[in-house]
Symmetry: C2
Subunit: 427 residues, 2 copies
């Protein structure tokens, strides 16, 4: 009884008057507040940030959901994650504050991951070059603010991750799009753009880029790194899909860098669990100091529970076997969706079979209104994301991004059918 | 054996060459990297952000640590936190993505906390006005960026929370300091500053301000709210110490507001656990939309594990009893430190006994070099924080902030002795 009253009170439904009794509160008046004064006070926004991309739409019941950016739960190491969280709940981290730059053991793990791939003669980053952050989105915001700054130019692949476009818009940087193909961007384009704009940074995803899934060739990697070095610039390398290789392994450029030109982002959100939002920025020298200062002002520190649990997961023997199974599963699902598209939606083309990542980047017939197609698909219970959101400028053509890791295998076979039918409706 | 080799490999100490064997890696060369090129690339910083305040110094072994901003672990609801995290590890949130604005039940809880205190006739905020954030520091950054913006004026109490000063500096707002006393700021000062600067926001801590511990009088609260309303401005109310009352209960101004003038921040970090970094911003109308957009660009969403665990803790029957015991403990420790100062450090004065919060704000004799005193205290194994860090401009006098909740009771009695001795050394 007392518990019930406490709950009702905390919800504002009843009120206790000491010595008098407990009363049902007057029903809240539905008078709509007049908030129009805020419009004058706030003025026009510096940037019109779009809160949600289509990838964050809630799933529709019974729909095939290929729109989100996350793998389905059965591709996550659920048992490891639950055990790690349970251990963290019993450990010291549950009641302690973490250092600003992260738990030292987790910093060392992230640094070791890079060091393991560094060629002889290159000094790999050390644990103290690692800043643990709560998901790579916070890293993007801080890097763009701290290293580029409002009004300054930032080179960016086109198409590229929409979250990076959002962070760039928030930071107020001026985007310089660099088209990217199956081998990555043309190094001459990068060179020209660095010369022409004086940009000091290039944001890129050399391994299994979102949305295209492409991996830069070794030649491209070396040439871009040379161009960046020659211009005294930074390469912001977003290695979001490090654990999501299918035919290939990621070859992060950070391994080749020992003079602080590569700012490296590695996230565990997609491969460990979206609830363990843990990522790292690796940066050296003044750049590291400036990013750290921005992170401290922005969030002070990351929950030690999440850090300890993430480290626990990736240092279990089960993690390696999980990654092996994940690779098989990603291949199976990617190929199921490809087959289904070839059979039932021959109007679309997949210009490049991604060697890793979570997505197919699908070219639609010229003239397709991709937003209309997305709506038509939704009517037919298939959720997909329109390609426009991945372009920093006008899209170079009509595309869809299809996440093959987000739905169970049997739905993937059906997805092509629905897409083919929807295309016939809108064309 | 295999596990050992895997660990060594992941730390970069050995390398495996398939078909050949496993080798100890060449020792990393200690060649110091030349990062001086970054200095030209980065240019001078827009703001010199100080990464760490003295409150984040690591504790010295065997020292009495009164410098930090957090209560000691024995004042936290440890059993509730561990049980809540264990439950979260078994629940659905462990593998799921949270909505951008937070878990709906937690949004409802935060809204209910305000609604429970709203007078009849005032429409309280609803669950959808609540944005869950990962600690109030992120809220401050977003609010200052989204509602004030670079170069625009922001009224701020003096002294005030150093983290708010840091967030304001990062956002590039121009600070307009308003002196604050035992009843809060003088409403005439607020009125004058709003008129003179055209500022559209005032950041304040009406309940148990950090560092002074003061609570605004009801008259001050009403008059400031009137001034803010009259100027079409926002009051950013940081209710950081909501759960930390001693003689008084917090009386948040947000309860009196139904036209969106109060942007309300409530954190659970200090009362639940520093590892459950969960807080909320309550805002309505266009202001809410603009803050939400900034949060999405900055961090996408907050770990559902932390949100679910925090909600679990504050809805347990044990939470209420914990808060009752906490109140007693805070009173005991505050009074122990006060007594110790009166007996052993009569040179200092505590102008105002705080009715809540975690800190004593201690005035030092005129002419004391507070940095020198802090160093002398540290030599004598007492960690304290110099008052300067809480002032947006020149300090109005030499102060220390002493956190009475951070050390065990027996150390508090000794703290006054050490401080008295250190003062005699430096004066």
């Amino acid at each position: 009884m007392q518990k019930a009253i406490r709950q009702l009170t905390s919800l504002g439904l009843v009120e206790s008057r000491p010595g008098v009794g407990t009363f049902v509160r007057a029903a809240p008046q539905p008078r709509p507040a007049d908030l129009s004064w805020q419009t004058a006070s706030l003025g026009a926004p510096q940037a019109r940030l779009s809160v949600l991309s289509s990838t964050h739409r809630a799933a529709v019941p019974d729909a095939i959901a290929l729109h989100s950016g996350y793998p389905s739960q059965d591709l996550l190491p659920g048992r490891l994650v639950r055990a790690a969280l349970a251990r963290a709940s019993r450990s010291e981290v549950a009641l302690a504050r973490s250092p600003v730059a992260g738990l030292p053991d987790l910093q060392a793990w992230f640094a070791g991951q890079v060091a393991a791939g560094a060629p002889v003669g290159v000094t790999p980053p050390s644990a103290r070059d690692v800043l643990v952050i709560a998901g790579s989105q916070s890293g993007l915001s801080s890097i763009f603010r701290a290293l580029v700054g409002r009004g300054a130019p930032l080179l960016i692949e086109s198409p590229t991750y929409w979250g990076a476009l959002l962070a760039a818009e928030q930071a107020g940087v001026t985007l310089v799009p660099i088209p990217t193909g199956p081998d990555g961007p043309d190094p001459d384009d990068v060179e020209r753009a660095l010369s022409a704009t004086g940009a000091r940074a290039f944001y890129a995803q050399p391994s299994f880029a979102n949305p295209t899934g492409t991996q830069w060739s070794p030649q491209t990697s070396r040439a871009v790194l040379d161009a960046v070095r020659a211009h005294g610039a930074f390469l912001v390398e977003d290695d979001w899909a490090h654990d999501l290789g299918i035919e290939a392994d990621p070859q992060p450029l950070v391994r080749l860098d020992d003079d602080g030109h590569v700012i490296y982002l590695r996230s565990l959100t997609k491969s460990v669990s979206p609830a363990l939002r843990v990522a790292a920025v690796i940066a050296r020298g003044p750049a590291r100091a400036r990013i750290l200062a921005d992170r401290a002002a922005e969030s002070m520190y990351v929950s030690g529970v999440l850090q300890a649990a993430a480290l626990d997961v990736v240092t279990q023997p089960g993690w390696r076997s999980h990654l092996r199974v994940l690779r098989q599963n990603l291949r199976t699902r990617r190929d199921l969706l490809l087959d289904s598209l070839r059979e039932h939606a021959p109007q679309v083309s997949v210009e490049h079979v991604p060697p890793g990542g979570l997505n197919l980047w699908v070219r639609l017939p010229d003239g397709t209104d991709s937003d209309q197609l997305v709506r038509e698909c939704e009517v037919q219970r298939l959720l997909v994301a329109p390609g426009n959101e991945w372009f920093p400028a006008e899209p170079s053509g009509p595309y869809l991004r299809l996440n093959y890791s987000a739905a169970p295998a049997e739905q993937l076979s059906a997805a092509g059918e629905v897409l083919g039918r929807a295309l016939r409706t809108v064309l």
